[in-house]
């Protein structure tokens, strides 16, 4: 490249640089003008607000209206959240109540069937068998005995049992020990705690008097429950009492019927003797 060519190239580059610089200067001028225009607009707007008596934009009617709406919506949201909470609590209460009603329903069904079965026969042995089945299947007792009051001796004599040998159960005097006291007072007995309990025929874990009104005719003495039952529920207490009432009536009726049948047979025998 000659010296002349080098000079021409340098002039061309200088010209290009000048053009770029000019464009930059023009752009800066435009920005400054826009900035000036916006600042003017801001000042104008502030003047307008001041003329209307507002110090800031926040105090404009639109902003105040919007703020009010937001506050109202916030309040509505809180109310809805509160209502949801109430509904959730009600839902939980209903669910718990449903479980309770199911339990009560179960108990009533059991009681209905138990009483139906107890009064379905006048055979004394059958009644005792039904009592055993009910105590096993509805109460969940594994070892227990039924003792009936002999009014001549005023003692309770074992007549039936489950999981035990009936003859091994003791004869109990009324008023003596837990069993005798339950007959005397007519009150149900439940052990305070089943923890560490060891079977003692004189000290059952549960003793339920068989009562017709205030007249006690015997007891159900429970010594062992199936392992699934660690403690008694309120439903159990109710079921025990209601069952004991039905069992007592069934035992009493069947005994009366057996006695009357026996007496009738004896009388019939006498009549036959006299008339022959």
């Amino acid at each position: 490249m000659s010296h002349h060519d080098e000079e021409t190239d340098a002039a061309s580059r200088a010209d290009e640089f000048l053009q770029v610089f000019k464009k930059g200067a023009e752009f800066t001028q435009d920005l400054l003008k826009e900035n000036e225009r916006l600042r003017f607009r801001v000042v104008k707007l502030e003047e307008t607000l001041k003329e209307k008596g507002y110090d800031t934009v926040d105090e404009s009617p639109d902003a105040i209206e919007l703020k009010k709406k937001i506050a109202a919506l916030e309040q509505e949201k809180e109310e809805i959240l509160g209502q949801i909470k109430v509904v959730e609590e009600e839902n939980l209460n209903f669910a718990n109540r449903y479980v309770e009603i199911e339990e009560e329903n179960n108990m009533l069904a059991n009681l209905y069937i138990a009483s139906y079965q107890l009064h379905s026969t006048l055979d004394f042995k059958e009644v005792l068998q039904i009592i055993l089945e009910i105590v096993i299947n509805l109460i969940g007792a594994e070892e227990f005995g039924v003792l009936l009051l002999d009014e001549k001796t005023n003692r309770l004599e074992p007549v039936a049992s489950e999981g035990l040998v009936t003859s091994e159960l003791p004869s109990v005097a009324v008023g003596k020990g837990i069993i005798g006291e339950a007959v005397h007072s007519g009150e149900n007995y439940f052990i305070d705690s089943m923890e560490g309990y060891e079977r003692d025929f004189e000290k059952p874990i549960v003793c339920i008097p068989l009562k017709i009104k205030d007249h006690v005719i015997g007891v159900i003495a429970i010594y062992k429950l199936f392992t699934q039952k660690d403690e008694f529920t309120n439903v159990d207490y109710e079921l025990f009492t209601l069952l004991a009432g039905h069992a007592a009536t069934a035992v009493f009726s069947s005994r009366m019927y057996s006695d009357s049948e026996r007496k009738l047979s004896t009388i019939q025998g006498f009549i036959d003797l006299l008339t022959k």
């Binding site: 199911e102 329903n105 179960n106 069904a109 059991n110 209905y112 069937i113 138990a114 139906y116 079965q117 379905s120 039904i130 089945e133 009910i134 096993i136 299947n137 509805l138 109460i139 969940g140 594994e142 199936f226 392992t227 699934q228 039952k229």
Partner: protein, 124 residues
Amino acid sequence: MTGYKVLVVEDSPTMRQLIVFALKRIRGFQIVEANDGVDGLKKLSAEKFDLILTDINMPIMDGLKLVSMVRNDPNYKETPIIVITTEGATEDRERALALGANEYITTPIQTMKILETGKKLMSV
């Protein structure tokens, strides 16, 4: 929920009535009762059942024998069987399950438990 037939095999009338009472709460369930295993087999041969509930300790033919015979019958290979046992009778329960029973229920009987187990096994 209609057209399901359930056979209840139980020698104790009290227990049988309890189970039937529980199952009758499901509308459309038809329940047939049998007094023991032999009676149960007779009823099974006369009609088709969707579920069998059986006690284990029964006279004439016990529940274990019944489960075994039912499982060997091609008509009842797939029919769900629930056995009813007392809580302590673990051995009987395990034997029943090994012979082909699907589930077990322990006494004291809980209505909801019978319903839930029955529904589950029949996919009701």
